[in-house]
């Protein structure tokens, strides 16, 4: 654009403002002071408002861009209570030297008590008078032969007087010593000086008394609103905080995660939280002596007992554990765990330690291939609760089965899930689970946390599928979704996923 086509800059037109009473009064007082900034403390007198009201009005004027503030911070010396007392009664060294001069003779230590010097004052006074040549060495205490004139003021006395008078010219070393002795303190003060902004100076203040405030039922009845104007509100001003109910952020996040799985064609399944070891572990080909089944890892219960599954299923599972052929067959699937299978263990009850048991129950029900199932639910483990561990943890179990299902489908599913949570980079590395072979672990690259383990999974072993009479390959994964939730929700402490503080939940109170 050519320079001559530019429009000349014009001054902004003056605003017409209707301000609430305190703001109007304070702005008027600031304008009355002309170009001189007004100290905040002077405004109550100028406006007839309380300091609190003045401060509130100033903040609102500032937020509206009608007033500006300059702030000055400074340190100010103050007499402490002890300093005030010393100034009135005399410093300990003054009282001692005065007593020695009055007595014209030596003083015993007990005499120092008699003149009212407490322990720390005695030692301070003696030390100062000795250093300054007032005292002769040794005890009893007496004035030195050639001592300074006791009538001459001490520099400390002079400093205390100056501080009391607000005189700032002080010897730093003396001040430091008096502060050490607890006679002076430093107060940090800030002083705010206000003046109108350019807009605040130019604005035309409307006569508020003629303007209407809130709409009232009476106003609507008698029609008074037709002949007056409404006062304009500052629409940018802070308004009261509305409290209201909200879904719990973790359960809401879990439902969002469910949506991803529903979108990928998975149907939801659930299983019991109190589970037999048969379904929690045996049917998954976890050896009965597997360390992860011990009381150090799994929560068991007292006072209730479980029952064995249908005999036919139990015997099929027992056969794969012991390395025997399935009933009616001649060849074992594998050597199994080369140890006797203890049926009494199968009926023991635990709090479910993995949602894989839900997969087992789902498969036992004979789903028609192809199938995709997920279970996003609670599990429990023996775990001291801290920032990264919880006894009650959520796992998302998923299986997909059908003719031709392979490890590549599983990896593809990891990719789909990673995509869905907004992560593009995925790496796979080997892992181990007793019920899958191959077993892998999907790592995703998080922008902040780097590579994190997210997707453990694998292909269910024949020792899992055959006893359940599943004839198609099944890929399975079990994601510890709490970690994902923590990342997604910006939570660094797993306990925050169980947040029950109403203030932090954002609603429900009031």
């Amino acid at each position: 654009m050519a320079p001559d086509s530019e429009e000349p800059e014009e001054a902004a037109p003056a605003l017409s403002l209707s301000l609430a009473g305190p703001e109007r009064g304070v702005l008027a007082a600031l304008r009355a002071a002309g170009p001189i900034p007004v100290e905040e403390g002077a405004l109550p007198a100028a406006t007839g408002l309380s300091l609190e009201a003045v401060r509130g009005a100033l903040q609102r004027l500032r937020s509206k861009g009608l007033a500006v503030v300059e702030e000055e911070h400074r340190e100010e010396l103050q007499l402490t209570d002890r300093g005030t007392a010393a100034r009135q009664n005399g410093l300990p060294e003054r009282r001692l030297v005065r007593a020695l001069a009055d007595r014209a003779g030596p003083m015993e230590p007990k005499d120092l008590v008699a003149i009212g010097l407490v322990d720390e004052e005695r030692s301070a006074a003696l030390g100062i008078l000795r250093r300054r040549g007032f005292l002769a060495p040794g005890v009893p205490f007496r004035l030195a032969d050639a001592h300074p004139d006791p009538a001459t003021p001490f520099p400390e006395e002079d400093a205390l007087d100056r501080v009391a008078a607000g005189d700032g010219a002080l010897d730093e070393a003396v001040v430091k010593e008096l502060r050490r002795r607890g006679l002076l303190s430093v107060e940090r003060r800030s002083e705010k000086r206000w003046q109108p902004s350019d807009e605040g100076r130019r604005a035309v203040l409307l006569d508020d008394a003629q303007l209407l405030g809130s709409v009232t039922p009476a106003m609507l009845r008698d029609g008074t609103w037709t002949s007056a104007e409404f006062r304009q509100y500052d629409v940018r001003a802070t308004v009261p905080y509305v409290t209201g109910a909200r879904p719990h952020r973790y359960s809401a996040w879990l439902r969002e995660f469910e949506e991803i799985l529903l979108g990928l064609g998975f149907e939801q399944s659930e299983g019991p939280l109190l589970e037999t070891e048969f379904w929690n572990s045996d049917v998954l080909f976890m050896p009965q002596d597997h360390p992860a089944r011990s009381i150090h890892d799994v929560l068991s219960v007292v006072g209730v007992s479980g029952r064995l599954p249908p005999t036919e299923l139990l015997e099929r599972v027992a056969a794969v554990h012991e390395g025997d052929p399935l009933p009616g067959e001649t060849e074992p699937i594998s050597p199994g765990w080369r140890a006797p299978y203890d049926r009494s263990v199968a009926r023991r009850l635990v709090l479910r330690s993995q949602t894989t048991s839900v997969s087992a129950r789902y498969l036992a029900a004979g789903p028609k291939p192809p199938f995709r199932m997920f279970s996003l639910d609670r599990n429990f483990r023996v775990e001291a609760v801290d920032a990264t561990h919880h006894i009650d943890f959520t796992q998302c179990e998923g299986i997909l089965g059908g003719a031709g299902t392979s490890l590549r489908d599983l990896v593809g599913m990891f990719q789909s899930l990673a995509d869905a949570i907004g992560i593009r980079e995925l790496r796979i590395r080997p892992s181990y689970f007793p019920f899958t072979e191959p077993s892998v672990e999907g790592y995703v690259k998080h922008p902040r946390l780097g590579w994190i383990e997210v997707f453990p999974g694998g292909m269910f072993r024949p020792e899992v599928l055959r006893p359940l009479r599943v004839e198609v390959p099944v890929a399975a994964w079990g994601i510890g979704v709490m970690r994902l939730a923590m990342v997604a929700l910006g939570v660094s402490d797993i306990r925050d996923l169980f947040q029950d503080d109403l203030e932090r939940l954002g609603g429900g109170s009031g």
């Binding site: 109190l274 593809g412 590395r429 191959p438």
Partner: protein, 565 residues
């Protein structure tokens, strides 16, 4: 995951190459081992529980060698030569109830390389790792290593009276009474009970009655101390099952076989059976068909590719019609069947994320209708201004006691008193949350739709997982009527109009508690909480509580034609 410290120098020597930390981290990415840091000359390596063999210099070098241009294939397991009395364990029936299984092998050093301190150190480290992991702290299997020139075969494994038995402990210098050893020595105190029955204990003793060891506790110094310079060692394991002790011996043999030592089987003779011990450290065959490999991996493998990858996995491979006969070494007990071998091939190639296929979905994703039904109550309660909670299923002993008797199932091995009982109502969780919020203003409204577990002797699992929708209203004016109104509202919203009937619920004010009944089923509870409960938790206002048993309501609501679903 199990972990071990591996001397960097020894790994470098075994590989013929010194790897930097980052090289090692990258190379191990495709294995079941993981680099977990280094400290001067020591590397910290973790491995999955099925691959303990990777936690030795020997095993790690075997796995890494093909990746750095080193050797491939199954390392040779070379038979040794034994010209002494027949190497055999004579097993007495007396051991059967206590610790029945035993297996062993003799390993013999190459002529120019007798046992050195570093190899002995590696063997001892791996032995201790196996004790802790595969041996389940020696309960299932324990190991001993003995120089064969200090005892005579046959070695007898039997129970022997404690009284009168003496030996020199491996860490001692003088002969001690075994009874005193069991009473006083740290290992005797810890592991002694595993080998004692009545007044007798397990011993391994040689043909002359010299004590080799007290399984599973400690070797004797006389015949059970391997030293640098030794050329022939017996590796022995006792335990609970034949399979476990054979596998344990097989694992430890890796350290020696990979260093060129030869093996001599050690037989086992029992009163009614015998085994020549050849299977303990021999490679065993497993089949692998290309069809299985292709099906699991989702891609096609050629014979030559499969053969090459099996060699990279340090397994022996012999092509046969349709696949391979695979030779599995004794230190790979994790390979049970064809699918396990297939995994080794797949992992040797590497699982590549870019090869994932997103299978077209022939299924329809759907929530369970019951969970949709449950969620309706959450929506209703949110609409009423109640804040949603998500609380642990386990509740504290303190709250359970306050509401006693609750009938809640107790955890047998609680981690703490804060999580000692499985809630059978949402009420204990609400109380916990109310107590957490006493510093905030009132009234307070909170709800949860979540699981509880109730005892049910007719169930396979001894209990039933039920879902409840519950809420509490805490405020100066809260009372029974608030809870009752809420319960009526929630049940009415699904056209389930029940009848309130009086009931006693511990922790509530007598005469201010009711059960909501519909079609003979209890579908909910409501009450005003007792001041004793409130004051115990320092809750300063009255509290109305209501819970709907959504699981009980679901089949009723489903039957009701007017139920809005």
């Amino acid at each position: 995951m199990p972990r071990a410290s591996i001397p960097r120098e020894r790994l470098a020597a075994a590989l013929g190459k010194n790897l930097s930390d980052s090289e090692l981290r990258d190379l191990l990415w495709t294995t079941k081992a993981e680099f977990d840091g280094s400290d001067g000359g020591s590397l910290t390596i973790e491995a999955t529980a099925d691959r303990l063999d990777l936690l030795t210099e020997a095993g790690l070098a075997l796995a890494l060698a093909p990746k750095v241009g080193g050797t491939h294939g199954l390392p040779p397991i070379v038979p040794g030569f034994w010209d002494g009395p027949s190497p055999v364990f004579e097993v007495d029936d007396s051991v059967a109830p206590l610790r029945p299984a035993i297996a062993g092998v003799i390993v013999q050093a190459p002529a120019d390389r007798p046992l050195d301190a570093a190899l002995l150190d590696e063997a001892i480290r791996f032995q201790e790792l196996l004790h802790a992991t595969y041996g389940a702290d020696r309960r299932r299997a324990s190991l001993g290593v003995y120089p064969t020139d200090r005892f005579q075969f046959p070695v007898r494994y039997r129970l022997r009276p404690i009284a009168g038995t003496r030996f020199v402990p491996l860490d001692g210098t003088t002969e001690v009474d075994v009874a005193a050893f069991l009473r006083e020595h740290p290992l005797g105190l810890r592991y002694g009970p595993l080998g004692i029955s009545g007044g007798q204990l397990l011993v391994l003793e040689d043909a002359d009655g010299v004590v080799l060891s007290l399984p599973p506790t400690l070797n004797s110094r006389t015949a059970g101390e391997a030293r640098p310079g030794d050329r022939s060692l017996l590796i022995e394991s006792t335990g609970m099952t034949d399979a476990r002790v054979r596998e344990t011996v097989g694992l430890l043999s890796l350290v020696f076989v990979a260093n060129g030592w030869r093996v001599v089987p050690v037989g086992t003779r029992r009163p009614d059976s015998a085994d020549d011990g050849h299977g303990v450290v021999a490679a065993r065959p497993l089949p692998l068909t290309l069809a299985t490999l292709d099906a699991i991996s989702g891609r096609r493998y050629t014979v030559s590719e499969g053969e090459h990858l099996l060699a990279e996995a340090r397994l022996g491979a012999h092509p046969v019609a349709g696949g391979f006969s695979v030779e599995v070494p004794p230190w790979r007990p994790d390979l049970l069947s064809e699918v396990d071998v297939a995994e080794d091939v797949v992992l040797a190639r590497g699982v590549r994320s870019e090869e994932g296929v997103v299978p077209p979905s022939a299924t329809r994703g759907r929530r369970r209708p019951e969970t949709v039904f449950r969620r309706r109550f959450a929506d209703l309660l949110l609409g009423l201004g109640y804040a949603e909670l998500y609380t642990p299923l386990l509740v504290s002993r303190e709250v359970d006691t306050l509401l006693a008797p609750t009938g809640a199932i107790a955890v047998a091995n609680p981690v703490s008193d804060l999580f000692s009982h499985v809630r059978n109502r949402l009420l204990p969780s609400f109380l916990t949350s109310l107590a957490h919020n006493v510093r905030h203003s009132y009234p307070q409204r909170m709800f949860e739709v979540g699981p509880v577990v109730v005892v049910d002797p007719t169930s396979e699992t001894g209990g039933r997982t039920l879902y409840r929708a519950g809420a509490v209203f805490a405020g100066e004016r809260a009372g029974f009527a608030d809870g009752a109104a809420l319960l009526d509202y929630l049940s009415g919203a699904v056209a389930a109009v029940g009848v309130r009937e009086p009931v006693e619920i511990p922790g509530t004010i007598p005469g201010r508690a009711a059960r909501l009944r519909l079609a003979g089923e209890s579908i909910g509870e409501v009450a005003e909480l007792h001041p004793s409960v409130l004051s115990a938790l320092r809750i300063p206002v009255p509290v109305a509580w209501a819970e709907l048993d959504v699981s009980a309501l679901w089949p009723l609501a489903r039957r009701a034609p007017e139920a809005p679903m």
